[in-house]
């Protein structure tokens, strides 16, 4: 194992720090969305029209793109959370934490590429496609 010397910062840097930063950022973002999402769903108690009107914004191109970001944030938070659990509870977790980081990055990409396709297909067709 290579030893690194911290220079001018409290943190060691590297993958460990950045996965931690991303975990916080995605966690906060998802938490704020959760507030909005419970409020918009609560409109089913007002009227079907009110609910459908607000849900229609979820189907617009820009919000559709934001949904891809939301899914990406949740997926990262979930995968990195599993990695944190393995680091904490698996005896070999700390030794393999770096390999696990690259593993979750690969899984994230493998899921997000087709995921983005299926989430955006309607929007892309509506914007650029020729409707048969």
């Amino acid at each position: 194992m290579a030893t690194t010397t911290p220079v001018g910062t409290l943190y060691r840097g590297g993958e460990g720090m950045w996965t931690w930063v991303l975990h916080r950022v995605t966690g906060v973002a998802v938490f704020f969305f959760l507030f909005v999402h419970v409020l918009d769903t609560a409109l089913v108690r007002v009227s079907p029209e009110a609910y459908d009107l607000v849900i229609a914004t979820y189907k617009t191109p820009i919000v559709n793109l934001l949904e891809v970001g939301l899914v990406g944030a949740v997926l990262y938070h979930a995968l990195n959370g599993l990695r944190v659990i393995l680091v904490d509870f698996w005896s070999k977790g700390p030794r393999y934490q770096r390999q696990m980081t690259w593993t979750i990055a690969a899984i994230w990409l493998l899921v997000m590429v087709p995921g983005t396709y299926f989430m955006m297909i309607h929007t892309v067709e509506a914007l650029f496609g020729s409707t048969p």
Binding site: F31, V38, V44, V74
Partner: protein, 137 residues
């Protein structure tokens, strides 16, 4: 010629007795891992069904919600997801406030705001799931 006496590491200092300390932070740490594990399935399943499967978000409307909440299975899924996600998120936000808000007053009021708004959202969401009426229109 006597050596200076140094307290044993982690010996109780001042008025801070070990008997007065609670295990709250330990349980909070454990809760994050257990709820996180359950949420991986609940939330990723929810996102897959709502955003990807069968046309994704384009097919969602009041009738779609009514169809799902006719089933106790999806009602329970959503209720458990709501509670676990809100408690998991609120506890995460509590950690972040404790980390970055340096003044005692700021920390206290930010956490009060967090707890009150989180309680409101949890109760509102629970009420909506239990009192949903498909014939409201």
């Amino acid at each position: 010629m006597s050596a200076p006496s140094i307290d044993a590491p982690r010996s109780p200092q001042g008025g801070r007795r070990t008997s007065q300390r609670s295990n709250f932070e330990l349980y909070s740490w454990l809760f994050m891992r257990i709820s996180g594990l359950v949420l991986v399935f609940l939330v990723l399943g929810h996102l897959f069904i709502m955003n990807i499967l069968d046309g994704g978000v384009q097919r969602i409307n009041f009738a779609f919600v009514a169809g799902r909440w006719a089933s106790p299975f999806w009602q329970s899924w959503d209720l458990l997801m709501l509670w676990l996600a809100m408690l998991h998120g609120t506890n995460g936000m509590r950690t972040i406030i404790n980390d970055y808000a340096e003044r005692d007053q700021t920390r206290f009021w930010l956490k009060m705001l967090l707890y009150v708004s989180a309680a409101f959202i949890i109760l509102l969401g629970t009420l909506v799931i239990f009192t949903f009426d498909p014939n409201i229109g």
